[in-house]
Symmetry: C2
Subunit: 196 residues, 2 copies
């Protein structure tokens, strides 16, 4: 299935009818408060899964950030596959367990890191994930806008922008055309991410 930028893949509360795998592109997962405040709980890239849920409905919304292709596994079929190949269940557990560890790192970031530390951590995480997909560690391509980054890190777009500027002024990163960021001083960025 193809999704254009900004298109919803599914919404919080919808019946959880399928599991998806991102083939290419970028997806964001998010939750809303009644008054409109938003928290993005994760960005997904090629190879990532979404829709892992035991519940009857999705507990978050998913939306394409850039042009995205996903592979859809209807829940019924998935369940029959799992019955025939118990190994798949183990794989699902492994994925969920891994996402849980990522979520806990993100809690540490949201609860205890300062703005500049959040941005530094974010860039390093994106870089590491790019490497895992076989892409170079730098420059990092930011598929998402400042407002998505802000809602992911628990900040405002203005603070995100200011933090980027500060890191740029310090020579730690370089903002390039095409919304790419060159991690000029990766070690220094690592130190900043950890609070030094």
């Amino acid at each position: 299935m193809r999704f254009a930028p900004g298109m919803p893949i599914f919404d919080e509360g919808e019946s959880a009818a399928a599991l998806y795998n991102v083939t290419s592109g970028t997806v964001k997962l998010y939750k809303h408060l009644p008054d409109g405040r938003r928290q993005i709980t994760g960005f997904l890239f090629a190879g990532d899964f979404l829709g892992l849920a035991v519940k009857e409905t999705y507990s978050y919304s998913a939306e394409a950030v850039s042009e995205t292709y996903v592979c859809r596994f209807p829940r019924q079929k998935l369940e029959s596959v799992v019955r025939d190949f118990p190994h798949f269940q183990q794989r699902l557990y492994s994925i969920a367990s891994n996402e849980l560890a990522v979520a806990q790192d993100q809690m540490l970031l949201l609860g205890r890191k300062a703005a500049k530390e959040k941005i530094a951590s974010f860039l390093l995480t994106l870089s590491a994930r790019a490497v895992r997909r076989g892409q170079p560690a730098t420059p990092v391509a930011l598929q998402m806008g400042r407002s998505d980054i802000a809602d992911y890190l628990g900040l405002t777009t203005e603070t995100v922008s200011r933090s980027f500027t500060q890191l740029k002024s310090a020579g730690v990163i370089r903002l390039m055309e095409g919304n790419k960021v060159d991690l000029a001083e990766r070690d220094r960025l690592q130190e900043i991410a950890e609070g030094n």
Copy 2:
């Protein structure tokens, strides 16, 4: 196994040798930054599991908050049980998937809620979990100290204390002896938790 208050159950980075189930008591899970800042990622009560990890080492530390009894399942044995009873694998997946949803709620709290909203949400969550364990919805017993609550909600002890005082002054809650909190106006508390 028995753990006195403050005793570590396992530490981040340790070899993940076992899965635990809390029989009685309270456990906190947390992560540290190099400079000592701490984020508590969860509190566990009777019936909750800890140590769900596919990785070789634990990605967080676990410590008893009150006197706690846990049931320990060595990983090896667990794996053989899972091999013989594939249904267990499904159960593990279900638990992990559920914790993931809880973690996402917590991200929304940490990233987007104000101090008073965080406290209100916290009290309601504790109450709901107490009900699930067959206990009354109110009063809620706070097994953990202010500093643990602060590190769970991404606040300081002072702010936690002040927020409690504000909610008390507004008549929404009542602070009782034995570190119990009476949710006098549950509806109002719910509204505050959601930002109204």
